[in-house]
Subunit: 469 residues, 2 copies
């Protein structure tokens, strides 16, 4: 049957080089930045909504699974072709990136790299605020599917907050337009915000209209160092309730600090329990005043040191510490399990306590850093996936992290998505009825369950598996 | 059958005074701030999610329509009991209004007045930004159902942007919790943002968790007066692309200006084609500088006068002009048809031209004001609903307004919702497939179609009717 389907795809996609069937090529699409290897049967690189509709209609007729994919940087398994079938690779479809100055929007095709959108916006005096760490290598299509976050989430929100219109191909191959070019729109159900973050299970995004923001006139970076983790939490709350909303508010624990310092000596305080990095942005006079107040708040919360960057070079040096956490920790062991369980801000100290217990109980290498301002921590476990025993302890530790986050009123995922990895834990957070209401939407939109199957919704009895990746 | 149902409701709601069946009482629930009069059979005033679940289960068993209602300020017919049945009046359920300073959230029950949330937040150094004009008389439950906007939408967004968690009773009477207390959450489909703005057709909100913002440290009001409407549009674009994002950016056309001046002489420039009112907020040093720059931008765009309020009293006087538009125009004629068709910001001049043509073609009294910064205009037609001939011309004019907005890439409704009034025009904006995807969600969640029937989705052949209201 696949041969017949392939023949029909060759009629849909005129440029034959955009159809890949070689084993070597298929292998490149069998994995992402999470776990598991699954070979697709065919890879297609579409470049128009029309091509996508034809393929979806064909796939529906033959009940073949279809998986949209950007650059494959997903940490949760979003684009993995777990049931075989067709991968739609959108990374080549990057021809549209228009900035409309008057409407303050960007119109983009799905394969555009996210950082290119911000660059183009900056040239016109705007910013596109969402800044996932992968923004230089990930496509906007992937960011939209996963509703990506990033450090600027505290002040500016996440991807979803900037999407005001979409062109979407439905699972049955029809083209719809949701929202539009206006920031306010209450005409019917908000399909835009339903599709963004649905991890490619409800529709395939073929164009997006993104809201831009005026570019802030200046910014200022600070670092505050704490002997006690609890004090850093107090400082964070008091900064925010002093009427100051930093663009970024990042935290590193002692394990992150020492890992970075071992990787590249930056003069970081390796005896500190925590440090926070703050970026203020806005009018220069405002941020000059605000950074002085942030310093006072941190000192009142027993910071042992507060550094205010004197210039851009010093600011970059301070941020370097945060940027080096990931490379530093993977040098210690090759396998990194990057979680993003998120708790209410007030529960950060309790979450740190739980993470400490998990680390001891399962004897895993756990490092914590992340977006403390919005409660979106990144507990990372480093391990060696060839060590089966260790990986089983990691699985248990990850389950413990999810449980702790939910018990503290938080969520499984703040920004990486559910994909294949977290599907087994969905009911734990949502309850049976909550999950069922999501399934009803999926069922009503994709009655054949061919669009990105195996994601979000758990299979009966599905468990977290990292050890055979 | 209603008697049997009433008997069972009396078992569910222990306080009998919260069950209303008198004709006089029922009449109070037969209308809202839009058009049409529809008597319900029973009104219930629930005060817990448990009561709501029992009523929904009962209603499903007997296939009786149920309509959630706040204070009935809807301009689109949202709470009208168009098919008889049970109205659930949530305006008495206002006992919960908690501000959590650390998590920067408010937890509220559905009957709380929206302005009370902002007042409570302000006491703790925060704001709840959404500010629909009705916020002193409308409930948060109604605001959530309709995804209300307001002047601060330009900088701060709308109701939906502040909702991070909900407790909801499904149409079949189950309780679910969506989202939570974290700003970032990508666990499954975003049911929170699907339910907010679904106009009470997908679920009944029994509690909401709302995000708060640090309270800005100061604000500044300016007024700029223009001889040419096009120049005011140029000024608006140039303010925003200069990196300045005002909290409010409101516009009044000549008809609004002269109506207000006739109602209460404020010394407004009655010969001007347009004036814009701007509120800047933020750090005092920043807004001092920004107001000077706004003045320069406006003058460069040929403003004939720019006034910067010297103090709070002067600011209030400037805003008085905008506040008096509604009372001023209804003094001229008793019936006000308040539309909220929204266009991309760049299309505001074209929309003004179309509105002028509509006014002349149908000989209606059309006044335009509104939230120009985000393209959300409020074309208001004043008429006398006893004059059948005039009302028929009004119906045609309203249809013309919708058509113009959609042709210019805009939307039927920026903040008032679809309800009964705009349902006939849904397909014009969304197309058949787009509307069908919404209907599928409704069908999958409310298979008996008992929750707020007759709203959003048009009945076959349904037309706009204002004249028999």
């Amino acid at each position: 049957m696949m041969d017949e389907v392939l023949g029909q795809i060759r009629n849909i996609i005129k440029e034959q080089k955009r159809i890949l069937t070689d084993k070597a090529d298929l292998y490149s699409y069998s994995y992402d930045a999470s776990f598991g290897v699954h070979l697709p049967d065919i890879v297609v690189q579409p470049k128009s909504a029309q091509e996508v509709t034809h393929i979806m209609k064909l796939a529906n007729k033959h009940l073949i699974p279809v998986y949209p994919r950007g650059q494959g940087t997903s940490l949760s398994g979003g684009p993995l072709p777990v049931k075989g079938g067709i991968v739609l690779d959108f990374s080549k479809w990057d021809d549209k990136l228009e900035i409309d100055r008057e409407d303050m929007v960007a119109i983009v095709s799905p394969g555009v790299l996210t950082s290119n959108i911000n660059d183009a916006a900056m040239e016109q005096g705007f910013i596109y605020p969402p800044d996932p760490s992968s923004s230089h290598v990930s496509t906007i299509g992937g960011n939209l599917a996963e509703n990506s976050g990033g450090p600027r989430g505290l002040k500016y929100g996440v991807t979803k907050d900037y999407v005001i219109g979409l062109e979407v191909v439905t699972p049955e191959g029809e083209i719809i337009r949701t929202g539009g070019r206006t920031v306010k729109n209450v005409t019917g159900y908000d399909l835009t915000k339903l599709i963004v973050g649905s991890e490619g299970t409800l529709g395939i995004i073929t164009e997006a209209t993104l809201r831009l923001y005026p570019k802030p006139q200046g910014n200022q970076t600070l670092m505050a160092v704490f002997d006690e983790m609890a004090d850093s939490g107090k400082a964070i709350t008091n900064i925010l309730s002093a009427g100051i909303l930093p663009a970024k508010l990042e935290l590193m624990d002692n394990a992150s600090i020492t890992a970075v310092e071992a990787y590249e000596p930056l003069g970081l305080p390796t005896d500190a329990e925590a440090l926070i990095l703050i970026e203020l942005d806005g009018h220069p006079a405002a941020i000059a005043d605000e950074s002085e107040r942030v310093r006072q708040v941190c000192e009142a919360a027993d910071a042992k040191e507060v550094i205010i960057a004197a210039n851009e070079q010093e600011a970059e040096n301070l941020w370097k510490a945060r940027k080096l956490v990931s490379p530093a920790i993977v040098r210690e062991k090759p396998t990194k399990i990057s979680e993003d369980a998120t708790v209410p801000r007030s529960k950060i100290p309790a979450m740190f306590q739980r993470l400490k217990e998990i680390k001891e109980k399962y004897q895993v290498d756990l490092v914590v850093f992340g977006h403390a301002g919005d409660g979106n921590l990144h507990p990372n476990i480093i391990a060696d996936k060839r060590d089966k025993d260790e990986m089983q302890r990691v699985e248990q530790a990850v389950e413990g992290i999810f449980q702790a986050a939910i018990e503290l009123g938080g969520t499984l995922s703040g920004e990486h998505g559910i994909g294949t990895l977290k599907a087994p834990f969905m009911e734990m957070e949502l309850g049976e009825v909550g999950l069922d209401m999501m399934k009803r939407i999926k069922q009503s939109w994709d009655p054949n369950h061919i669009l990105n199957p195996g994601k979000i919704f758990p299979e009966p009895g599905q468990k977290l598996v990292l050890s055979d990746g």
